[in-house]
Symmetry: C2
Subunit: 324 residues, 2 copies
């Protein structure tokens, strides 16, 4: 599928503008250089099912998804535009709940909702509702954080524990009958990222959404031409997530998170950055999970509990459907 | 429905940013003031059915829709981001055709496609494909063109004939069996608008999409607190559109266009603007269709062929479903 998507993208003859980051980078967002600033823009369609799940809903997800993509580029989130499409007959009260949740998430993240579009499709032409959001943020020109900036010697920080969003969604789909109280971690990360950026050592960042930590770190390893070595004993995975993953045959490293960032940080700033992240409300459980090396570029490797090493592959998409 | 949407919008507590145009203006786009510039952003979801229709397809429509909204704000279109959602099993060859068409329209409009998102929904969870596009454009700070800028004495120019997109779509839906060769007018309008802006007299602009000319002019009349007087004999409506409209009981003034702009222009620049528009490829059929007055503010009025006057109401939405 990835190759097919690259094929479709090649149908667009011009793929960057104003000297900024373009679509070919496959980064968390694109950018335009405007005067002294770099405007960062990011767009995502949200199709999550069910619409309301433990810890969040499609509205909160749509706002946080865009806010976090901006944050991962090192851009302060400023504004959101949305495109909401609903099925004819969709409940007004649910739409009110969802837009309230969008409003609350936007307020928490400090972004304005400046524009949008609303369309209705006939009954059965769409499953309830989809929300596409475009996030707009600002960084100083040339200061955006790219996936390609990591160097050997950097340390890897996770700002929280992983896998909770995907497992929460699965448990909300009744047929799985998971006996767990795991909630989605969906939350806006700018305050946490801002604190970390202030330390000045971040070389790349990603939020492990579709494809989880495995996908995010493989992207960084490939684009930065480095290897990333994770330490299994340090992976921040809650027991309930481990147990549910094992039962379902899922790899927690591949499960979508919606409120965690993984940051590569230069070694001399790693401790200070970890401290800064831990002092933010959504970074309290941050931990050092690995390190960056120059050998075996493009690989993510996991040091197992018994002292072995195994390759962490980039998963083929997301193992759980309609997760975001 | 409009009141319901206003209610949902009020769930967003902050609705503008950086001193720009916000969501409450209900204009063609929003804006952020960045240094000496005003970044204009606009977002639309496209659900048109059928996907391929005489004169265009959903891909061309998605690009032109965003480009034209930027142009209507007086902003030079720079970049597009998209969110494509397809039904599981959607034809790769159709997706290739659609993205090629997006690429061709973007190239014609001079915009880059800088970012996007692609998601698959299960079979029957969505009718084939939807495409949301976000357009980003630039104007000099404070130079965006708002719906509220028109003054009594202004003249009203239409850059082309109206109603063709909606009728083309209806004729493509076989059950209507319209014996017409009307094609959609879907096309990017920036070159036409740029020529008109250079004359320096434009006070407001809108592309009459959903709800057609009636909706666009009512918006301008309400926001500018003026009345707009149309002359029936000057309305640019092709015979085939008139005939099809009559047969279907539709008012051509309410039918969606996708390649026409309506411009209000100060009287002293009206002739020169018309000339400039006519010298552009998509403005050859431009005409003066009416004038702006100070009496009866908020009303659009049509001088009929027999010398009477009737009120042109803002239509309740779009009479033709899934037109864009």
């Amino acid at each position: 599928m990835d190759d097919a998507i690259k094929g479709f993208i090649s149908n667009f003859s011009v793929r960057r503008a104003l000297g900024g980051v373009g679509i070919d980078e496959f980064d968390d967002g694109a950018s335009l250089k405007i005067g002294e600033w770099e405007l960062v823009a990011t767009m995502d369609g949200h199709t999550v099912s069910p619409l309301f799940f433990p810890g969040g809903d499609i509205g909160r997800l749509a706002i946080c998804g865009s806010v976090n993509d901006l944050a991962m580029m090192g851009a302060k989130p400023i504004a959101i535009l949305d495109s909401i499409i609903v099925e004819e007959g969709f409940s007004f009260s649910d739409l009110d709940k969802i837009t309230r949740s969008m409003g609350a998430a936007a307020e928490e993240a400090g972004v304005a909702v400046i524009g949008g579009d609303f369309k209705v499709m006939p009954k059965n032409a769409i499953d309830k509702i989809t929300i596409a959001t475009c996030g707009l943020g600002l960084a100083e020109k040339g200061k955006v954080i790219l996936d390609s900036g990591t160097r050997p010697g950097d340390k890897v920080i996770a700002t929280g524990s992983i896998g909770e969003h995907g497992i929460a969604l699965l448990s909300a789909r009744e047929q799985f009958n998971l006996d767990t109280d795991i909630k989605s971690d969906v939350r806006p990360l700018w305050a946490t990222v801002e604190a970390a950026l202030a330390v000045g050592g971040i070389t790349s960042m990603k939020d492990p959404t579709r494809g989880g930590l495995a996908s995010a770190l493989n992207d960084i390893a490939a684009k930065s031409k480095v290897s990333i070595w994770l330490d299994h004993s340090r992976l921040p995975i809650k027991k309930a997530v481990s147990a549910a993953s094992e039962m379902l045959g899922l790899n927690p490293l591949e499960i979508t998170c919606e409120g965690v960032a993984v940051m590569c940080v230069s070694e001399d700033r790693a401790e200070e950055t970890l401290e800064a992240v831990r002092n933010t409300p959504y970074g309290r459980e941050a931990s050092l999970i690995g390190e960056v090396r120059g050998d075996r570029p493009g690989y993510v490797l996991l040091k197992t509990e018994v002292g072995g090493t195994r390759i962490v592959d980039k998963p083929m998409g997301e193992p759980i459907p309609r997760v975001c």
